[in-house]
């Protein structure tokens, strides 16, 4: 709709709005996590019991006193809530009374291992997804139809495949029977990373592949692809300079969510492959009802997630210039008469 528009929006305004939107989103996440934690703690009766490590914990009187003070349990509810918000916002993660260690230390120790796993898995998932998408568009005609159907089937199975089963099967085949890779591992020794990364990457790869393939097929049939071919572009050029970029957009938009999924999957994978990491820590904490530990870990996961989303947004800005916002109105001038 043209109508008559007012003055153009300067680019710095657009950039400011983008930054504010991101910051607002991050704050919202923090607030939500704090609120969920607040209610979770008070949902099953005495929060003190939960903080100290569940029923059956043998916390001494000094621990009880410390907990009471730290969480402000003798203050009115509103004050407790604000205190909770403050603690989450400043990443004060408190102490795990069950383990008698600060939560922050515990997490800092285990975080790098999980991050390594997640980053490698995301890269692997992307590689698998893009390869799958390219293969299905390159194969044409009747062979193409068969290839496409097969890939679609693989993708469905990959998407629903539980990590604990895929990992177990991989261990059975590659570790126990063939002995190529170890069944358990830790640290960044490459051989020990292959199976865990693969287990983690497959479900995400399935999902990203579906999305990329649909986008690639759509881009391949779009008018701009026809125009490119009409200019004499060969298939490699059409793919590399035109359609791949379009096809990567939806997968890129999903990468933030995919990362969150990876962190979920990491819990299972670390338990299965007996790798130390944030996931194992979370499971331990849940099993032993070590609530401060679990809360701390969940908070860290939330923060990580927000960071990854912001990162993907920045990358998206590079890949899709249309997101950078409208340019000055000068170019929207009406058509100029030719040769008259």
């Amino acid at each position: 709709m043209r109508g008559r528009s007012a003055r153009a929006i300067p680019p710095w305004r657009t950039a400011l709005r983008w930054v504010l939107a991101r910051v607002g989103g991050a704050l919202l996440v923090v607030w939500l996590v704090a609120t969920i934690v607040f209610f979770a703690l008070r949902s099953s009766g005495d929060p003190l019991e939960a903080i100290l490590g569940g029923p059956g914990s043998q916390a001494g009187p000094e621990a009880v006193e410390a907990a009471r003070r730290e969480y402000g349990l003798d203050q009115p509810l509103v004050v407790q809530y604000l205190l909770q918000l403050w603690r989450v916002a400043t990443l004060q993660l408190g102490d795990s009374y069950a383990r008698r260690q600060p939560v922050a230390d515990l997490i800092a120790e285990q975080l790098p291992g999980t991050l390594l796993l997640a980053a490698l898995a995301l890269a692997a998932a992307w590689a698998l997804a893009v390869t799958g998408a390219i293969v299905s568009t390159s194969a044409r005609g009747r062979i193409g139809a068969i290839v496409n159907a097969t890939l679609r089937g693989i993708e469905i199975v990959a998407t629903v495949m539980p990590g604990f089963w895929l990992g177990a099967v991989l261990i059975l085949v590659f570790a126990t029977s063939l002995g190529w890779f170890p069944a358990t591992s830790q640290g960044s020794h490459p051989a020990g990373l292959v199976l865990p990364v693969l287990t983690l990457a497959v479900p995400i790869a399935g999902f990203l592949a579906q999305v990329s393939r649909d986008a690639l097929l759509e881009a391949d049939a779009a008018p701009f692809a026809v125009t490119a071919r009409a200019r004499g572009a060969g298939e490699p050029r059409v793919l590399l300079r035109h359609t791949l970029r379009h096809a990567s957009l939806p997968a890129l938009a999903l990468s933030g969510w995919a990362f969150g999924n990876l962190l979920s999957g990491a819990v299972v994978v670390e338990v299965l492959f007996a790798r130390p990491g944030l996931g194992r820590l979370l499971q331990d904490g849940a099993l032993s009802r070590d609530v401060p530990l679990v809360i701390g870990a969940v908070t860290v996961v939330a923060v990580l997630y927000v960071a990854v989303v912001v990162l993907t947004d920045v990358v998206e800005l590079f890949v899709d210039p249309r997101l950078r916002g409208p340019r000055p109105a000068a170019l929207r001038a009406p058509d100029v008469a030719v040769g008259s």
Partner: protein, 498 residues
Amino acid sequence: MTALAPHGIAVRGLSVALPGAGAVLRDVSLRVAPGECLAVVGESGAGKSVLARTLLGLTQDVPGARVTAAELAVAGHDLRRLGRRGRRGMRGRDVALVLQDALQSLDPLRTIEAEVGETLAIRRVPRAERRGRVIAALREAGLPDADGLLGHRSAELSGGMRQRALIAGAIVGGAGVLIADEPTTALDATTAVRALELLGRLRDEGRALVLISHDLRAVARVADRVAVLDAGRVVEEGATADVLDAPRHAVTRALLAAVPSGPKPGGRVLAPDAPPLLAAREVTRRYRNVTAVDRASVTIGRGEVLGIVGESGSGKSTLARLLIGAERPDDGEVRRTAACVRLVPQDPLGAFDPRHTVERILRLSRRGDAPSPAALLEQVGLEPALLSRRPATLSGGQRQRVAIARALAAGPDVLVCDEPVSALDVTTQAGILALLRRLQRERGLAMVFISHDLAVVRNVSDRVAVMRDGRIVETGPTEEVYASPVDPFTAELIAAGS
């Protein structure tokens, strides 16, 4: 085989069969000399686009496609003998394609410079030389501020500028043969005229031009010769004036007859001094910082048809929504002395509940003692068998008729039609317009007819209002306005539409 000058097209006995579609082109023959423009016209599905792509050698790349011809020479190349590589080599350099809807025909993620210069980049022309040739091509296509455009992307340009950039991308390689596939379909009337003038000029400079279109009026402006395609065959061919003035084949005659032209047949239905049923007085509607409708005033009296004409973005649809009461004006008022106003929408598919059958749709819209759904369908020329179908399974023309039937089900006094025929084929269009005229005559219905197509509006309306940028710049009895427009914009519109 007659030797043609290097830039030209010689086709004889071309037949194309595509997997899943069967024979798409049958025994097609045509010739285009350099400096000549041949228009290929026909209904959608006649095979026009396949013809374009075959001349470019693109159809031959589709797996399972069969292309046979006694002669198939384009720009000096015998396409029957060329392999994949050869065909790719000639594209962009000797033959070039211009598509419609440049918003999607130019890669929206790449800059204008990259897109227009792609032919050169493929042939490894060095960067500095490429840039110079791109700027020259853009200027030749009528964009004097070429340097400023290079870094922008297609979405940042207006429709007309985009089409010029697309054309620049086609001529930058020095192609002697240009194939334009519906180049003006997505453009406003005035912009389309200028694009056609550009194509005409390129033809005058010695290129062979094939213009594919379903718009016969556009064709008449530029083409030297016309070939009519129907179900894959050329049914008539000749000089433009001959074909358009004295068509011989039934298909050609049907195409020409379907093009709306001339004044409303039958003239006014009722006397012009009936009291107004629907009046908008100085209505204004704003969205954020855009004024969609700016102090517009219209009146519709009993039994008369008011046409509202304007280009895209002029505010026509917003005015329609204000008239039916879907939105409230920010200033001014809409007075409805008519009991019942109904809308025939632009996109009937979206206006139907996807889960309802035609029967249920009509039944739910009935008010008072309206006729039964079957009777309603009959009034709009459809069979009662369609009652059990869902709108998504109907053709575009059938859906529009159901939309009209639904509007009639309430027994309206005023019918507001928002671009009711814009998405339809020329022949289907003619049928709907005839239906609307008949209904208006039989019931003395008042109508507001909104369209960007002047000829269509002229064919239906007693009075006309011309809109531009939210304002009504001229109103009056249709024939008077068309014969002697007062406002310069109106004059431009009328010149573009004829």
